[in-house]
Subunit: 214 residues, 2 copies
Amino acid sequence: MQDNANKPDRRQARTKQLLYEALMDLVREKGAENVTVTDIASRANINRGTFYLHYRDVPDMLQQLKDDVFSRIRAKVEKLDIKEAWAYADRDEAYPQGVIVFDELAKHADFLRTMVGAQGDMSYALRFRELFTAHIYEKVKYVPEGKSIMPPDYFVAYVTSANFGFLMHWIESGMNLTSEEMARIMIRLMHYGPLVSLGLKEVPPGGAKIAEER
Amino acid sequence: MQDNANKPDRRQARTKQLLYEALMDLVREKGAENVTVTDIASRANINRGTFYLHYRDVPDMLQQLKDDVFSRIRAKVEKLDIKEAWAYADRDEAYPQGVIVFDELAKHADFLRTMVGAQGDMSYALRFRELFTAHIYEKVKYVPEGKSIMPPDYFVAYVTSANFGFLMHWIESGMNLTSEEMARIMIRLMHYGPLVSLGLKEVPPGGAKIAEER
DNA sequence: CTTTGTATTCAACAGAGTGTTCATTAATAG
DNA sequence: CTATTAATGAACACTCTGTTGAATACAAAG
């Protein structure tokens, strides 16, 4: 029942592992919404009643797994220091703590691909977008007043979606760039904008800001 | 819904309308996955059996509604002519066919907010992103080789996500810009990139390309 | 090795929702 | 008005749910 942080019984660990594998299989096969407790128990060769000793129902199981992965990733994201990151961006080096974040994402590649992909959960994806927005793109909010033809909230949506789409593509396409490459490209995208990142424009000597604003 | 088809019996139309209203209510209340046929029939004051005269099950009903809205919007999107649009962009006018697209989106505001929002369906959202990508952002694929530090598919993900996030924000925030404003801003974003759109850079006399590349 | 605690199993249960059928009632179009 | 078709109500077998109580299997500690 309750978590004995000290010693998880072998049987519990085994059961949880089997339930997890069965769930992931089934979600990939039929989509998260069509998976039943009976399915999971049967696939895992576990008594149906045993499922209820671990989780309230299927949504609860998914939620616990999502929360677990999310908090692991959040822990790494919260250690990011933007100013430090920009120092690395100027030298075109990968910011170490950034690499750690991408490593953590890669660690949960399978789970994230399933939960954030086409069969995935929109609100879970948005939760990540908000996490990154809160810790990385805060500055974006300070858009200069005046000549802009678009409201600031629209600009925030534009920029955060761009970066998040970039990240999603990495996850969905099989993570075929290393964490170092991702960290380097992403901080560059944020710091200098897409033009410099594409090599179509020189890096300004004094440094630049998001989307080449100033 | 639609009035012009040959001979939709009044009773059928009435029933479909009641089922539709009940479904939308319930999806907003409990999320699409938790709505039962019994729920819908009861909310609509319709015999449960009658539901099955119109739809196979709840997912089927949602699918039909989604397909219907999607094809209406696609019909407008397919009439877009990018070159024509850019002529309007240069004059900073709203491209009429673009306005028509946004009007069509606005027509289905409620439905889209429900289906593409946080409680929404990821694959449906991606379907729209692909539609827009295919008809609007084709050019983005032709990223100049060479100095770029990011693979082209990543750049496509970056740019299309940016524009799609912009659109989603319009839908989710209550569509508080007119179709004309949206059409003007969006074509400008695509044509000149965010800098010019933000008024932080002058429009180049000869015209520019996506994200100020050239 | 034995004891002790507990995780898991098994069978059974009522409840809710499903999808179908059929005879009956009601509304519609012509 | 009449023939047609939609909607109703009731019943059916079915699946999945979430819970219970007694029996069993297994892990950890002495």
